[in-house]
Symmetry: C2
Subunit: 212 residues, 2 copies
């Protein structure tokens, strides 16, 4: 990978999709693939795909295409998936529990190390062998343990407070599922998941398909 | 809105974000906003924003900016949010329950009308006043009721079967949370939510920030 190359956010956003598709192909025993075939699978144009991969020095060979396994590995390295990320979940209702199960299911280097909630009914229960702790203990936990990612699964009204506490506790990134536009300073990477955006886009495509 | 104008997917994807931010502004009593201020709030460039809004005939006025309430309403109309969407959830584990709560919380025209699962422990329980039904009854339900959106919250291995059943039952769109690239024919709009893509992007930004 070329160092000092600033890769655009748009490219970064496409990489996980490429990687997912390459993994499926590898799972089917497919060894190489052309940009045209990748275009059919991803919905991006072949020219876009070649351009994206050129950002990293290009892995393809004229007339051969791309080696599936090597491209999969390379993209994983670029995405920083060659290491483990320790994560805590704040908010252990249905969403927090779903995310815990999801992350465990995926494994790939993302590890839930602790879970916190304010609800006495949830404190003490075990989710995938992790005991839900009192949210009051988060500050202490972050002082004593290095945590990479804090996952916010609280209500909208609590989200900013939780984000502040995570930032003070020096997490490197926040994965926010609360339907709130929280703010953190530049030392923390913030990734918001706005499920409503996805649902609204779906509504657009449905309602415009309905038109004669 | 100009008819017969083909709006690019990239623009459609930005609209829900604009709308969310405009709603927050309206909630704070802000009546008008410039493309430059919207740029600060969205992260898109002012020129990009003006270009996006020009797609719909442009709602701004030189020297005044955009009327927050009117722009909010217009974008809602474009997205098809002026009507109600009836939705069913398949898979009522933590994720399905979280989505049910989320959708109910949001209200905005998206209504859960039925929920289905194969698990006898879940069949019969009530989630926000909706009783979870046996998945065997989905086919019959879709014959007797018009459903706009089917939400798949099952495991990866069941997702394609559920999608096929939803498509046979003439749903208009599928909102898929299962970590599987399901296929449906062109009569159904498919919106995949790949949480791992978002997590992988977060990993990228964290690992590249760590570099000296």
């Amino acid at each position: 990978m070329k160092d000092n190359v600033r890769i655009s956010n748009a490219v970064i956003r496409r990489l996980p999709r490429y990687r997912r598709i390459l993994e499926e192909l590898a799972g089917k025993g497919i060894e190489r693939i052309s940009s045209k075939e990748l275009s059919n699978l991803t919905g991006y144009t072949a020219s876009q795909i070649r351009q994206d991969f050129n950002n990293f020095g290009g892995f393809g060979q004229q007339g051969y295409g791309y080696n599936v396994q090597s491209l999969f590995t390379q993209i994983g390295l670029i995405l920083g998936l060659d290491r483990e990320y320790c994560m805590v979940i704040i908010g252990c209702g249905n969403l927090g529990q779903a995310i815990a199960n999801y992350a465990t299911y995926y494994k790939r280097g993302f590890k839930i190390v602790a879970m916190f909630d304010v609800n006495p009914k949830l404190i003490g229960i075990r989710i995938n062998d992790i005991e839900v702790q009192d949210y009051e203990l988060l500050e202490k936990y972050l002082k004593e343990n290095e945590v990479d990612i804090g996952i916010i699964c609280t209500t909208k009204s609590s989200a900013q407070d939780v984000a502040d506490k995570l930032a003070e506790g020096k997490v490197k990134g926040i994965w926010n599922f609360a339907p709130a536009d929280i703010e953190v300073d530049d030392s923390v990477v913030l990734e918001n998941v706005h499920l409503s955006d996805s649902l609204n886009a779906l509504a657009y495509y449905i309602s415009h398909r309905d038109q004669p």
